[in-house]
Symmetry: C2
Subunit: 341 residues, 2 copies
């Protein structure tokens, strides 16, 4: 007899600034009964991603905020333990959006079946999932790096940044990655074949970035904002493209930023340098999902795209791991192993 | 015997803030001798445009700054008075970039012959020239208004703004124009068929703009910046497009804008509302010039695009007219009649 309860982590309070442990609440709740077409899921992997910080607040974001008491949202890999849907059998693995919990009931039509023989299951949350697709569409539709152009990406050892850099390398661009700490920087150059890597914690970070981009910057894949963006802006070339997919350095901000007001200057740079800034999330380009899966699978198997995962064991550690993610403590795609495969 | 001198207006000093009469200098100078392929031109019309303010300063812009002593730049319509080029005969009219002067020597290959029977000669500087082409490419390549969407354009009685609004109307968008003063606003609604017109000088301008855009703003054609942009930003819909082709309200700015710093907030809006901001000048889309001429001629002859010119007589009045242009004093495309046709 399968379980009829789930242990879940809910939003207990809206964080002010950096989230704290007390903003989360763990509880045991009843699952709804299965209806025709539903399956009962046992969550195996939970993805932790910066966008979740936005969902915890009421500030306008690209998605509706969670309500207090809601299960924390998130992508998951899960196994079917009971099925009332013809398309899924007990034992099947699926990609679901079940959030921070151990079990869930979901309609089978919202789930994507995964084949564990094609790729490790956890990659459905990383390089073959939402972060990989974000990198893919942001480059293909907005960044469009050309051979010989310089691309800069921050959070470069994370799942989006690492994929951006490697995809742009396939297009023969020059890649400068920004990451926190010497170990991540070494990884970018030694393992991922980035041309340069710069530690954003260095006192002379802006000068290092300028040195690393002697021909300016043609594509800046924006996923952090803050001080990195400030250092990038003066280096942008005419006709530079800036896909804006995240601003993790700003998500915990509480103060109104002090002056001077740099917005008029930014507008002037957009005009005089013919810049393109475009905000997006991956679902804006859902029509490219099949192209992505086909191309990325080939590149992965050929070893042209590599990935790194940072796996944390146990749902109870999700809040701490998430708080660390916003501080840049993870090294690679952050995943919580909720249960063994 | 044709003249061998020109009376020209040169840049005497770089303006600090608003240009003053003393920033310009009128002088008589010798013209170079004609070489094979050259023509001697008698300037008939001189175009005055906001971009010239940028060329007077050393601040980074989309073109090289003029040097002190250079003839003020500008598009002109001129007549050939002497020719050493087979392609042009005495009496022909041409579009040239001869600047603020009465005569010029130019290679015929840089000139475009105009047919005075097809359209009034002055339109080559306005609706059929650079401002019209700016409106055309900014909408076609960046703004892309759809039927039923709301487009907002400022400086709307000027040659770019008026054409933007009418072109978007042809695409069945809802058009809200912003202009300075009741007379210009009436013109937009009564003559150009804009859906709404708002006076940016009104104390409750931002509230009026919000009332005029009950379904938000899908396209904002940015040619002024400053307070209008600040009022537009909160009203932008998801996936709004902002072609950035001018910031005339900021061109004379001298102070560093006081805080708070609104740049981080702008980046957040770009992300969360999937905005596209793209700076351009018309020459970025030179490949569309023929399409523009063909389509715009048809619309003009059919009366679907109308235009208004503000003609000032005499080269000596150019500095004063230009200073007025930056204050929004002109009503329609500002042109100096340097000599009779």
């Amino acid at each position: 007899m399968a379980t009829t309860t789930t242990r879940r982590i809910a939003l207990a309070a809206r964080p002010v600034g950096e989230p704290r442990a007390s903003d989360f609440r763990t509880e045991q709740t009843e699952l709804p009964a299965l209806r025709d077409g539903d399956v009962l899921l046992r969550i195996v992997y939970l993805s932790l991603d910066p966008y979740m910080r936005g969902r915890m607040s009421t500030a306008r974001s690209y998605a509706q905020p969670m309500e207090i008491g809601d299960t924390m949202v998130g992508g998951t890999v899960a196994q079917v333990v009971e099925s009332r849907a013809r398309s899924l059998a007990v034992g099947d693995y699926v990609l679901s959006y079940s959030g921070w919990q151990t079990h869930a009931v979901a309609p089978a039509r919202l789930l994507r079946k995964l084949d564990p023989r094609l790729a490790p299951l956890s990659t459905a949350l990383g390089v073959l999932g939402m972060p990989g697709f974000t990198a893919y569409v942001g480059l293909k539709e907005i960044g469009k790096p050309l051979a010989g152009e310089t691309l800069v990406v921050a959070a470069a050892s994370g799942p989006v940044g690492a994929t951006v850099g490697q995809l742009a390398k396939i297009r023969h661009a020059r890649i400068v990655g920004i990451a926190g700490g010497a170990e991540k920087c070494r990884y970018l150059v030694d393992e991922l074949n980035f041309d340069e890597a710069i530690d954003h914690r260095a006192a002379d970070f802006a000068a290092q970035l300028e040195d690393a981009c002697p021909r300016g910057i043609d594509v800046y894949f924006e996923n952090v904002g803050g001080a990195v963006w400030s250092a990038v802006l003066p280096l942008l070339n005419d006709f530079a493209r800036i896909p804006v997919c995240g601003l993790v350095a700003q998500y915990n901000a509480t103060d109104v930023p002090a002056g001077p007001d740099r917005m008029p200057g930014l507008m002037r740079e957009i005009l005089s340098r013919h810049l393109t800034l475009r905000g997006f999330i991956q679902s804006d380009f859902a029509h490219l999902q099949r192209d992505f899966e086909r191309e990325m699978s080939v590149w992965l198997q050929a070893g042209r795209i590599r990935y790194r995962e940072d796996i944390v064991d146990g749902l109870d550690h999700a809040p701490e791991a998430f708080i660390g993610l916003l501080r840049g403590k993870n090294f690679g795609k952050l995943i919580v192993r909720v249960a063994d495969e």
